[in-house]
Symmetry: C2
Subunit: 261 residues, 2 copies
DNA sequence: CAGTGGTCTAGACCACATC
DNA sequence: ATGTGGTCTAGACCACTGT
């Protein structure tokens, strides 16, 4: 029915009908993706108001000159991102949370992106060693197989935040320490043609030993965050195992969980 | 070409062609989902070997009597789960990691599922209070608005593991303490028609205060894991804010991160 | 009842990887 | 040159939601 103005649950904004989308069929970017990006932009700029919204898929498809499956593919990608909600028999709505967060997975991203960017990283060790049992198991190698051991100290504002210890299958990657400090591990892996796909992390806490304390400028017994991570590339091969410790006073993990039904 | 037996990169197992799938068009379960489940089962039982596999989509569609989009939808869902990899011009392969993990997001699930199941939970407080600033902000309410405060002590094997403090918008849910101890918070929310969609978590660490130590049977100064979480339902509304502390000696978070390109 | 999204089909053409 | 997945179309019917 769409009465004009129903403040109850239908936030009547500019609505979708007044927006126009620029679709370029000549572009290498898929149409569904072009549409998704422009819808997302409209949502994030709150041109599309939270609450009720989005005409039905059939109308949309004729208005934009696209087939319904293409429209659906675009909408679905935004549903997956948590920006839209679909209800059968009702319609597609812009999610209405006041706090619309960045939504991206972090902590891996912190290291993926920020690695070597904002903070500084000092390579403490970078050598080939026989794999300790823990690393061998995580990487799917025999114990004692050759692996590259990487130990790095990360600082922000000149003060230590984390001590990172990583193991990589030897020969996977050339690891120049200077470039490592400038570029970051994940960026180097990406440049080497390794596309990360997923990672399994375990986060815990414990008290700092005296040695750890002196390296991180904490007292012995101070609370530390610990993290072990195994990272997989897009073929499912283990490409990295890391065991890290963080000063809890200066670092915490923040991330988004999605519940799948 | 598919030479029979190419141990180099094509783990020649029973291959897909020998498997048959039972598709029930009368079932309310979508065909793509039936196919996905059966493929997943075959992969997990290693009937389908890691490495090379899976005939092309067109063949599959004629063999199973389904259209290609339907086949693709099934395959895509397994790609999203990280069980399959697609490469243009190459084909679809079963991911080859020796360690194929449960894959599901945890820690929220720990609480979603295990809540009230294995471990026991004692409700310490369950009352309506004015929202403290932190909880109000997380829930998108005015400071001092009425919220339900829930404080629970969780034990495994009779010994404490965690102290959970939750805030919920008042009126969202009837919260009977006895049922809460037997059923768990998330199960009760689900029964009340609230479908959780996502949550934002922050994990950190700090030393236990004397009071916390005595409640968790730890010494003062022992390392604790801390977690703050805001949970959203499928419409994007905040439905819960929690601030939890865990004995680091008995608990850690484990979870899977997916990297999106 | 009318309107919505959910599923499914049978084609088509293109981009990319490999030989 | 061939075979693969990636994209896209124009329909169809069903299941659910609201009135």
């Amino acid at each position: 029915m769409a009465k004009t103005g129903d403040p109850a649950h239908a936030a009547t904004g500019p609505a979708l009908s007044t927006l126009d989308f620029a679709l370029d069929r000549g572009s290498p970017v898929p149409l569904y993706h072009q549409l998704a990006q422009q819808l997302e932009a409209a949502i994030l700029l709150i041109v599309l108001a939270p609450g009720n919204l989005l005409g039905n898929e059939v109308d949309l498809s004729v208005r934009l000159g696209l087939s319904r499956p293409t429209i659906r593919q675009a909408i679905q990608s935004l549903v997956d991102k948590g920006l839209l909600v679909r209800r059968r028999g009702v319609g597609t709505q812009v999610v209405h949370s006041q706090v619309r967060r960045p939504l991206e997975l972090s902590s891996l991203y912190d290291d993926l992106e920020a690695a070597g960017q904002g903070p500084t990283t000092e390579v403490v060790r970078n050598e080939t060693v026989p794999a300790p049992a823990e690393a061998a198991a995580a990487l799917g190698l025999a114990e004692g197989a050759e692996v590259v051991l990487l130990e790095r100290l990360r600082r922000t504002h000149g003060r230590p935040v984390a001590l990172l210890c990583n193991y990589l299958p030897s020969g996977l990657l050339g690891l120049d320490s200077a470039r490592l400090e400038a570029t970051g591990l994940y960026r180097m892996m990406r440049s080497a043609g390794i596309t990360l796909h997923s990672a399994r992390q375990t986060v815990g806490a414990r008290a700092a030993t005296a040695a750890e304390g002196s390296r991180l400028e904490e007292k012995e017994g101070a609370a530390l965050l610990t993290m072990q991570r195994t990272a997989y590339d897009d073929t499912g091969r283990q490409v990295e195992y890391g065991t890290h410790i963080y000063r809890a006073s200066r670092y915490s993990f923040e991330f988004q969980l999605l519940v799948r039904p």
